[in-house]
Symmetry: C2
Subunit: 376 residues, 2 copies
Amino acid sequence: MKFNCSHTDPKGKARAGEIITDHGKIQTPIFMPVGTAATVKGVHQRELKTEINPDIILGNTYHLYLRPGVDILEQAGGLHQFMNWDRPILTDSGGYQVYSLSANRKIKEEGVKFKSHIDGSYHFFTPENAIDIQRKIGADIIMAFDECTPYPCDYNYAKASMHMTHRWLDRCIAQDKKSPYLYGYKQTLFPIVQGSTYKDLRKQSAEFIASRDALGNAIGGLSVGEPAEEMYAMTDVVCAILPEDKPRYLMGVGTPINILENIALGVDMFDCVMPTRNARNGMLFTAHGTINIKNKKWENDFSVIDPEGTTFVDREYSKAYLRHLFTVNELLGKQIATIHNLGFYLALVRQAREKIIAGEFTSWKNKMVKQMDKRL
Amino acid sequence: MKFNCSHTDPKGKARAGEIITDHGKIQTPIFMPVGTAATVKGVHQRELKTEINPDIILGNTYHLYLRPGVDILEQAGGLHQFMNWDRPILTDSGGYQVYSLSANRKIKEEGVKFKSHIDGSYHFFTPENAIDIQRKIGADIIMAFDECTPYPCDYNYAKASMHMTHRWLDRCIAQDKKSPYLYGYKQTLFPIVQGSTYKDLRKQSAEFIASRDALGNAIGGLSVGEPAEEMYAMTDVVCAILPEDKPRYLMGVGTPINILENIALGVDMFDCVMPTRNARNGMLFTAHGTINIKNKKWENDFSVIDPEGTTFVDREYSKAYLRHLFTVNELLGKQIATIHNLGFYLALVRQAREKIIAGEFTSWKNKMVKQMDKRL
């Protein structure tokens, strides 16, 4: 994997670049649609490609490990083959879902024992098998096994957890070094900065992570309930330390405004369930604010969903029709809203990239942030 | 509306023809995908057009009347505009759902009082307002208001009900004659033959219906639980009486085998929820039998869904992948299975048409019926 940071905003820290993987190029800044269980919910792979057009998508190790399981994925020749997606994929390490979904979990130095949220069976994730599992899934970018602390988090817990995440990272790196690739292409391991909302811990963690000289670095443990200002403060501290010539991935973030603000701080990669999950609840993001399509006010609004939208759903369906589909709980409603939201997110990061390259990012970002902060 | 029956099977009663409506041509025999609430569940309109390619779809008056309601549909300029579908549409009269879905209903000579299955509100359908409602919905083909008797049905009830359906038909015809079209194109009223599974009643009903000289005729009250042989016997009796120069529509039928057998008896049009509803439960129809994709046997079958299939899903996804999507209850599973099944149904009726035109229908039909009667 290579990263070429080609442009930096003259008035700030926003960057435009390109990541090169064995499955193709990723132009940054990028938003990665979440394909939890080998599917971006409600979207056909070819629609994803032609209408939304992300250079990379994300899969969740915890979910894929439980179902279909790594044996099936290995027999299929990896996740790309299994789901018929030939562009890059990133998988998380499973840690986040172990903490957020599993009812029962025990965190020890060795790893985390947890109970499946599906059938109650017990499983054990360690830094070593998190790498082994991700080898079998076969994503282009794989993540170190970490502990994602909740918000708020006691300082001492955050500190101890951060040190354990660092020790786990070294075990991940060792396992990654000694494990051959299974499908003929390379996988790149990203370490993760932790440290909760404490600047000194974030600084310490970023320095530790930077010292491991990985090909890309991630910032974890944010967008877990803290105020946006704290998130931005942490990103700012960390981005100042993480190497400039490596991509920076802010995990699990966020709203369109969060994304633009973090691009402004030097982040290159994002993922979040928000555009897809909120879509399924009838919430649409637009350049002029958010729409709750279930509201009665859209009942007889026969205008297209988003005249500025880039996907076919924006032009082919009306707000009144989409509102009806949500009222009667039809699958097509979720499908339409998902394509709209992901189309909007991807168009937004593509536009951010253009503005960075044109040297106009900061003023555009300030205008967009103001403009998007409304409920229509 | 015009019907041109261009070919008849030299060895039987199967016909190929073309219905011309103000929204375009319908090549027969045709299967009409069911778009209950202004959407074929899980399928984008443009996918329906390009991948499944039906010349006509069906909407349900009962559902559309309750939600979004005729006011919204009228404001939209009719159902075609509302759902962005520019090909022909047929609506049923609402009678069937009043009997099958509404918990509380009272049938009188005047009409049927029923309780909405959505909010418990009371409504009254009559032959007259069934026409008025269908005017506002705006389908190209509209159906007479009838009583669909259950199976089994007492002879005297079936006889009395049939006579009421005939009286209701004359009221529908009168209302249809005096009601102007609302959207600048014509709507054609189809009467419906009833008579349960009694040959003498079916004969009597078909003669009554034929005497009204409508532009197309329907056969109702079948596929309600009776053995297939009884269904075929009734279709046979009725088709011998209904005029040859008018299309014949067998309502609510059926399996691929039912469809081929009824084409053989002279039926031109079909609709059924089976391909879509069964798809959402993981049941796939193929030319070689049915597949329950949830079965463990497909877990590591990485072959494409249907090598003989005509849609993109048949080529782009594997059985193992589709099985996984059903296991984890992902929307995309229902979407894929629906497109496959509808694609299969439409390809089947297109092939039937080609075989009729080529004079090879009967032997092909016998082969296909045998071949499809398996569980894979």
